[in-house]
């Protein structure tokens, strides 16, 4: 008996992958942004606003009519239930999705996801204080990685696994491009020479993508915007680069049935990236390139839905009856 993946299950696994990835990115972004703020001289008008931009949490934040202070922004991104993208909500949703598809994963993996959820329930408010923030958020990161590591080592690499990975990498590609977009849209500029701060900013971007050390090893030059852009978007060996995400998406799609449309969209995005000279992009050009990448990821997401999660199906018409009749040409494995 072949195990079939239900459309609903595929949908939930995909979102589980996305939410886990989102939780990890959010935790990492808050940590690296805190780090950046500590490095910056107080006179630079660079506050906590960009964190809201990177996580796309403006609407829910502004509706509360509050200043973008450190405490307000961090609370909004960690514990606030009204922010659909907060860590607390991402982990709730991740668990809820896992709960409804737990029979599709190794049994222990739900224990780990549940453990992360319980950790967040009790511990996340600790992230509001700057002194405990790093420890608390590292706690989220290590737990997400534990889940990720456990799944990749012990889960059958079947269709269910492919959907988890697709969610993970579509989310990751989206986050990477968004972080770059925010950095490009809000360059640090002080009264003196902006140069050292620009470096600082791109170092922070690299850190928030866990890519600082890899950059040193792989690029072997001081951090600059063109080199960082090229590295973060196009390096196929960096797990958080856009190229790596698209390659992973392609590999997962290849294992799935009926993959023509999404695979075509993925290949198109990968080709565009390959042909672009991203290091030379600046200002409005850079922003429109990032926009295009994001649109392509959104298109991929739509194809996933149309192909696998909510497809239009042809329902069989009346035919021969009886327990052993023929099968109307429908797959029966």
């Amino acid at each position: 008996m072949k195990h079939h993946t239900l459309s609903r299950t595929a949908d939930r696994l995909y979102w589980l992958g996305r939410y886990l990835e989102r939780a990890e990115s959010t935790a990492r972004m808050i940590n690296s942004h805190t780090n950046l703020i500590i490095d910056l001289p107080a006179r630079l008008p660079h506050g906590w606003q960009p964190l809201l931009d990177m996580t796309d949490s403006h609407p829910s934040f502004s509706s509360r009519n509050q200043p973008p202070s450190e405490r307000n922004v961090v609370r909004h991104l960690t514990t606030n239930r009204d922010n659909p993208g907060s860590l607390a909500n991402s982990l709730d949703f991740a668990r809820e999705n896992a709960r409804t598809v737990r029979e599709n994963m190794p049994r222990v993996s739900f224990e780990y996801i549940n453990d992360l959820y319980l950790y967040a329930r009790t511990g996340l408010s600790g992230a509001l204080s700057r002194s405990r923030r790093n420890t608390v958020l590292e706690g989220v990161l290590t737990r997400v990685q534990q889940i990720d590591g456990f799944l990749s080592r012990s889960m059958l690499h079947n269709d269910a696994w492919s959907f988890l990975r697709l969610g993970q990498f579509i989310e990751r590609g989206d986050m990477t491009t968004r972080i770059i977009g925010v950095a490009a849209a809000t360059p640090l500029a002080g009264k003196g020479p902006a140069e050292p701060y620009q470096q600082l900013q791109w170092r922070s971007v690299l850190r928030s993508l866990h890519a600082m050390q890899s950059y040193r090893v792989s690029v072997q030059e001081p951090v600059s915007q063109p080199l960082a852009l090229d590295f973060l978007l196009k390096n196929p060996d960096l797990p958080r680069s856009l190229a790596y995400s698209l390659d992973s998406i392609r590999n997962s799609l290849r294992r799935l049935p009926r993959n023509e449309q999404p695979l075509r969209a993925c290949n198109r995005a990968r080709r565009n990236l390959k042909q672009a000279d991203v290091g030379s992009l600046e200002g409005a050009e850079l922003l429109s390139f990032i926009d295009m990448c994001q649109l392509q990821l959104a298109e991929l997401h739509d194809f996933m839905g149309r192909t696998y999660f909510h497809p239009r199906l042809r329902v069989p018409k009346a035919g021969p009856r009886g327990r052993d009749g023929p099968h109307q040409g429908i797959a029966k494995c």
Binding site: M1, H4, L6, A10, N114, L256
Partner: protein, 481 residues
């Protein structure tokens, strides 16, 4: 202070572990000595380890908390002192259960076909046809092997003199088997050394046996089996997911299935539609198919009954099998066994009074303070009156209900349910319990080794339902011979 068995006092009731003279029952000695050796700290540490295991394994059940709070996930309540049953006694019980379930299946099949047993007056015809679980839609349908109740979870209780009775036949969608399996897992994690002294029969072959039973309902060699759940908010969702996973079957909701005009059932998958052969359904009859039963059901699948009646899909349990799970019909089971099996029942029924008979009714109303009164079609311990513990006002209310609708009630003398030592703070105290074994019927029969032991955690209480503060224990069938 550690557990001191000679201070343990079961108050003259039957205790599953300790005799009335304070000694361990045959076979329980090693367990009792092991437990008595543990200090308070060690006992509490084991208890906490069990709670931690349950939390981290995500073993939960869902309770409906009322309109304001919706449903809440609670961790499964578990007591770390196991309950022991000797293999020899179990073999007897096992035979009794198979006899009983076989007879009930023949009865159901008869009800929906020739109704010989009704003609012969084994069970009053009116009782069956007026039962709210009798489904005219099932008349004339012949499920594979003529079996209707494929999964049965009988409740067994022991009285003060040690007699084991069948309290209820749960034939509709009995739950609890996943907790039986998980209890063993938790026990092995927290008390591995206790297992060394015993030959304990494993319980973990249940999922394979269930898969085998379900497969036998299809003529295909490798049938497509799914578990149909009402969804995550159902109290037994944990179990639905658990069983689907352990059988490698798909866990589906109504919306995942569709019945074509060819009267076949398909599931929506990433490959397109795939035909389904066997549905282990965990939703009630009336929600199965909005075309036939409740038209407002969002849980079911329109057309499912069509497909079942056409023989294109097997439903386990079959619709309509609840007719034999009515608490009034229950009182006729001994006659049903004699009629269909030509044998005396191996396991007795709890003596029961049918309120529909005037004589019995008068007796019940007269002695309401000694009786347990049960409505015919409720489960989960809801809607019951426990006479000796009820207030006068509650008894009066029940008396009125019985007079208004006598068909709907039976009464049983209050049994002195057996107890087993249960850890309450650091002490072992007697708590009442029951046992729910699971019986599978398809091409063959299978009975779990033991079953799910449920404990009433409150002192003196006999309500073991987890929705009402009940706990559970690992159940060991041990070979002493």
């Amino acid at each position: 202070m550690p557990i001191v068995w000679k201070h343990y006092n079961a108050d003259g009731l039957w205790d599953e572990l300790i005799t009335s003279s304070g000694r361990a029952r045959p076979g329980a000695g090693s367990l009792c000595r092991n437990l008595a050796r543990l200090s308070d700290e060690e006992l509490m540490a084991r208890k906490e380890a069990a709670e931690l295991a349950i939390r981290s394994m995500g073993i939960t059940f869902t309770v409906y908390g009322g309109e304001d709070s919706g449903s809440i996930d609670r961790e499964w309540p578990f007591d770390i002192i196991p309950r022991l049953i000797r293999k020899r006694e179990w073999d007897h019980i096992r035979r009794g259960l198979i006899q009983r379930v076989t007879a009930l299946n023949r009865f159901i099949d008869d009800v929906y076909h020739d109704q010989k047993s009704l003609d012969d007056g084994v069970v009053p015809r009116e009782l069956v046809e007026k039962s709210k679980d009798f489904r005219p839609e099932c008349v004339g349908v012949s499920p594979p092997h003529n079996v209707w109740a494929h999964i049965c979870g009988s409740d067994l209780v022991r009285d003060a003199d040690g007699t084991l009775y069948v309290l209820e036949d749960n034939l509709r969608v009995p739950s609890g088997v996943a907790y039986m399996l998980e209890n063993r897992e938790v026990m092995k994690r927290v008390f591995p050394e206790l297992f060394e002294a015993y030959l304990i029969h494993p319980v973990d072959d249940y999922p394979d046996q269930l898969a085998r039973t379900l497969s036998s309902l299809s003529s295909r060699r490798r049938p497509e089996i799914v578990v149909l759940t009402p969804g995550v908010y159902n109290s037994a969702y944990f179990e639905h997911a658990y069983l689907a996973q352990s059988m490698a079957a798909e866990l589906v909701q109504g919306s995942d299935l569709i019945v074509g005009n060819d009267d076949r059932v398909y599931m929506r998958t990433i490959e397109g539609l795939i035909q389904v052969d066997v549905i282990y359904r965990r939703i009630d009859d009336l929600f199965l198919d909005p075309e036939v039963f409740r038209s407002d059901s969002m849980l079911g699948v329109p057309g499912l009954m069509r497909a079942w009646r056409a023989g294109n899909v097997a439903l386990a349990n079959a619709p309509g099998c609840g007719v034999a799970d009515d608490k009034v019909i229950y009182t006729y089971v001994p006659e049903i066994i004699r009629y269909f099996m030509g044998e005396d029942p191996i396991l007795p029924n709890v003596p029961s009074y049918r309120c529909v008979d005037k004589e019995s009714r008068d007796l019940v109303l007269d002695r309401l303070d000694e009786m347990v009164v049960k409505p015919a079609n409720e489960s989960g311990g809801y809607g019951m009156l426990i006479g000796p513990k009820a207030s006068r006002a509650e008894r009066n209310r029940f008396a009125r209900q019985i007079r208004a609708n006598p068909r709907n009630y039976i009464a049983q003398p209050m049994l002195n349910l057996s107890t087993a030592p249960t850890l309450i703070e650091q002490h072992a105290e007697p708590r009442h319990l029951d046992l729910r074994p699971f019986i599978l019927s398809g091409a063959e029969n299978y009975v779990t080794m033991g079953g799910l032991t449920r404990v009433a955690m409150r002192k003196g209480s006999i309500v073991v339902n987890s929705s009402q503060g009940g706990g559970s224990k690992d159940t060991w069938v041990v070979d002493l011979e």
